[in-house]
Amino acid sequence: MNIAVCIKRVPDSETRVKIASDGKSLDEAGVKFILNPYDEFAVEEALRRREHAGAGAVVIVALGPPAAQETIRTALAMGADRGVLLQVERIPPDGLEVARALAAELRDGGYDLILFGKLAIDDANHQVGPMVAELLGWPCVSTVAHLELEQGRGIAEREIEGGVEVVAFPLPAVLTTDKGLNEPRYPALKGIMAAKKKPLEVKPTTLGPGGLEILALTPPPERQEGRIVGEGPGAVVELVRLLREEAKVL
């Protein structure tokens, strides 16, 4: 099985967001970057499928700045075979531009499966996987939390409001992964050492201008300072009164 996994370098979820002086971007000083958590599920799934098939390769593809090489190395340390960095100065807000560049890279790769995370935790666009699938003309199932593959066909389960959709599809296919699909492994020391010697190709990439223009990045409005209504069950009557008369939500 030949599998490509698209990964994104994102700020750690614990990051304290400081807005840069341009008022439009994140101030990256002191920010720790990680492999997007949803992409860990995708990498893990690819490794398991390759191990199960006993043959094939797992190729990691990331579009990002030079520092995204480190993120690719993390996936290589988990056990992927080689990496490709589509190097850009900065990742645009328009997911379609990212999808176009990824699709061009993936088109003639001879993959059985192309995996994505369901979303990147920074911009939460929740779109690049299905866009790449459409650009390639491949079948696609998004937000997969359970997966069975057999003889060129697959069954995936995805959460929808109030239930689970069971979806059948043929291979090759694009899938995007949700939490619950698997438990991603941690890179072992041996893997980290091995990753340093694995091939990582850097391809300078130019993106189109995109159709989304950032006007401003601002802190969310502070929630009005809340108040402690009281202590213990004695405060409940007052709480209900406030919900009814002040907040008017009952």
């Binding site: 935790i121 939390a145 109030g162 959709e165 599809f169 601002t218």
Partner: protein
Amino acid sequence: MSDVLAVVEQRAGVLRPVSQEVVTGARRLGDALAGRVDALALAAGGVRGAEQLGVFGADRVTTLTNPGFAAYAPEGYAQAVAERARTGGYGAVLFAATALGKDLAPRVAARLGRPLAPDVTDIVVEGGAVTVVRPVYAGKALLRLRLNASPALVSLRPNVFTPAERPKAGVMETTAVDVPAGRVVVQQIKAAAVGALDVAEAPIVISGGRGLKDPANFKLLEELAAAFGGTAAVGASRAVVDAGWRPHADQVGQTGKTVSPTLYIAVGISGAIQHLAGMRTSKVIVAINKDRDAPIFKVADYGVVGDLFQIVPHLTAEIKKFRA
């Protein structure tokens, strides 16, 4: 002047409530653009409830029918919506950022070669261009974007665009469409318990955390939810989902669902940043926690300090009394 297409949703031939929000958002945009609002449903046959969409501002309600459209058919829906968007000359196409909309909208965007602004919490027209606001970095910042494209493709975060009545003709029309059988086929929907509301859509969400001590104690929260008479869903923190106490479908937060209910009640939840990411846009937040310094009190509008095992049953009783 340009028209707006509102892509609405049905399940089992019944209009989903989120559709009213999409039409409400579309009407707002339609008014700003001095255009018409067309609601678009996809179904195997008629859609019960679609006739109400005129009340929320739809000038026309079109149902595209195909035998393969009973359940969500990703490829068929994408083709049919893209075709409509293209031939209708719309200035904007709006989706709901639901499980369906999050899958469908990017497909339509790729087919049309137009950018998509997903999961927005505000939408306006400025200088003739559609401008949106969307939470990024797990809700720790807001991004304001201008869409330099026509049609502007946008999905709306559920529960944010409160349905507002704005009666228009809502002329009903049904058209059979021909699309090839899709390769991706929904075979079955394993439904959650009948009547169970999804946390992402419920107007009231009561979430429990590690403070509940034991999975059996979630009964307390279920009783409180029941006291609200079918408008409340029970959610959970990741700690209790990881412990296997509650299903992942109920998890609120960065790696779970994003919710914006009218009322969010956090019970025995500390308020970690990743939990806040999923609920900080709730309209009113109540926290019940025995630790006065718990971070959840920083975002809560109303806090009650103390033992949840004593407080929650009282609250249930008070709500019952109030609703009786």
